[in-house]
């Protein structure tokens, strides 16, 4: 399983989770875990997703998130979970 962390940050507005989740669902990317909070008006969400269903490579998936970034005016950052596993798990 290729797991990735998607972090979404920016000014809070309606429908952020819905918009991001919809785009992921269109690519057949399964969401494994979500945590979300509002810090001083700033929306902060971290999602752990499974990229294997997408049959696209990493850079294509990242590019496919660009319209969502533009539309929501939020920073959406994707990186593979391996770096966290390597650092924090033996």
């Amino acid at each position: 399983m290729t797991k990735a962390l998607i972090s979404v940050t920016g000014l809070d507005t309606t429908g952020i989770i819905a918009r991001v989740a919809t785009r992921l669902s269109e690519m057949n990317i399964n969401i494994l875990d979500i945590s979300q909070t509002i810090l001083g008006g700033y929306f902060t969400m971290m999602m752990v997703v499974d990229l294997d269903g997408a049959h696209m490579d990493f850079s294509e998936i990242d590019a496919a998130l660009q319209p969502v970034r533009d539309e929501l005016q939020m920073s959406i950052h994707m990186q593979r979970m391996d770096i966290f596993d390597a650092m924090h798990r033996i």
Binding site: L5, S7, D33, S35, M46, V48, F58, S59, D62, H77, Q79, R80, M81, D82, I83, F84, D85, A86, M87, H88, R89
Partner: protein
């Protein structure tokens, strides 16, 4: 599942504390490129490098994107050129530089000679060509091994390198002696070092290998801020834990690069490599331990602890550790070292003492332009003797700042940084250097 706190810690290390992978270095064996015709040899070298390293930079960039960790440098190290140059080595140097540019790597190391016991004709030709080659090429790095614990010190080579360094400084005087920043003199050089300027692919290495150097002085400094005032046991433990985390990421990057390029993984170099950026300094770690300025009494002990704890933490995080592995103390590449040297807290003599307990040696040190070749050789001899007797790698990368005196500044730009010109002991050692010959290998029992 990884928790939010752990995720945020990793992100903070990368975004705020300058954690990065310093280099992915591809080692390439060139022994099969040897040819009596220098041009033909150079061409074969060029073709082989382009064949092996064609996807190096693009693969490094892809890993960088996916793991969201900067991989600052992608580099190439090759077989010491004196081992393949059967005639004039200069055409090979030009082809190597061209290959480095074509492949998009910022440095290519291996314009080197291993002459700890003596010189071959090829070694002599290569040495003589170094000043011209380093002035004319852009990305080629050179290193010369002048001693080892097993062979002793080749004092003829030590004497010669003093002259070569001066000539290199003169040939690149218009660029503050930049050529000397690309030239390292070693004792006990290692064959799998991924760091420049001293990287080469030793004769005991496989056909090709991926070697990775990690970094992260800023991360260690930040971790130590959390344990301010606590005893050294806690300091050592904190450095170990941090080094473990850093090295695990280095191992991950090395494995990924190795898989994607289909090239065997060599080693991870457990290093704390500073950059001139504020917050990426090894000197600041020492100062965090309680020193007003690096160079103050206690500095050597602080560095000994740091160096050892980095290794202890890192060694479990990687299945093959090698290279230089230790804290680097290059003066011009570390803002804390620059400040300490400029303030007069850090002297050449203190730096020499510090190199007894860390990797690698007197690194990126600017000395007055009127420093004689013999004095430079004397400095090299002292440093090499430390390496020889203590069974460790030591090196000298020294820049005579032509036309400048102590207190002036030299500027190299980028990762090479800038450095205050440091005063040198002015008493003469030329009669010592003129003796030549070899200092015998040291005894390995009766150690005290």
């Amino acid at each position: 599942m990884i928790n939010t706190g752990e995720i945020l810690q990793t992100l903070r290390m990368i975004q705020e504390e300058h954690f990065d992978i310093r280099t992915i270095t591809l080692g390439i064996n060139l022994l099969d490129c040897a040819d009596p015709d220098a041009e033909r040899c150079g061409q074969r070298v060029y073709e082989k490098i382009c064949r092996m390293a064609g996807r190096l930079v693009q693969t490094g960039e892809a890993i960088e994107r996916e793991l969201a960790i900067p991989i600052v440098n992608k580099r190439i190290s090759v077989t010491p050129v004196s081992m393949i140059a059967q005639a004039d080595p200069r055409p090979i140097a030009r082809w190597l530089d061209k290959a480095a540019k074509e492949m998009g790597v910022n440095f290519l190391g291996g314009y080197s000679a291993l002459m700890q016991k003596g010189a071959t004709q090829a070694d002599e030709r290569l040495l003589a060509s170094i000043p011209e080659v380093l002035a004319e090429t852009e990305r080629l790095c050179s290193s010369v091994n002048v001693g080892s614990t097993r062979a002793g010190l080749n004092m003829n080579a030590v004497g010669e390198m003093g002259r070569i360094i001066r000539q290199t400084a003169e040939a690149t005087a218009d660029r503050d002696g930049l050529g000397c920043a690309k030239l390292v003199v070693f004792c006990n050089a290692v064959e799998d070092n991924p760091f420049m300027a001293g990287a080469f692919c030793g004769p005991g290495e496989p056909e090709c290998a991926i070697n990775v150097g990690v970094s992260g002085p800023g991360v260690v400094k930040k971790a130590l801020e959390e344990v301010r005032g606590q005893p050294f046991d806690v300091v050592a433990e904190t450095v170990k834990r941090t080094a473990f985390k850093i090295t695990r990421v280095g191992q991950l990057v090395a494995r990924e690069a190795s898989q994607r390029l289909g090239i065997p993984f060599g080693i991870v170099d457990l290093s704390l490599a500073p950059t001139p950026a504020r917050g990426d300094s090894v000197a600041y770690i020492l100062e965090e331990m309680g020193l007003e300025k690096t160079g103050a009494p206690g500095t050597t002990a602080a560095l000994a602890l740091l160096n050892d704890a980095v290794k202890k933490g890192g060694v479990m995080a990687s299945n093959h550790v090698g290279g230089l592995s230790g804290a680097f103390i290059p003066v011009s590449e570390d803002i804390g070292m620059i400040e300490a040297a400029a303030a007069g807290a850090l002297t050449l003599e203190k730096l020499e003492a510090m190199t007894c307990v860390c990797s690698v040696g007197l690194d990126m040190i600017a000395v007055p332009g009127d420093t004689s070749a013999e004095t430079i050789s004397g400095i090299i001899a002292d440093e090499a003797a430390i390496g020889m007797v203590n069974n460790k790698t030591t090196a000298v990368r020294i820049i005579p700042a032509i036309g400048k005196k102590a207190g002036d500044t030299v500027e190299f730009g980028g990762l090479l940084g800038f450095a205050p010109v440091m005063p040198v002991n002015s008493y003469d050692c030329s009669a010592f250097i003129r003796r030549g010959g070899r200092i015998p290998a040291p005894l390995h029992s009766l150690r005290n």
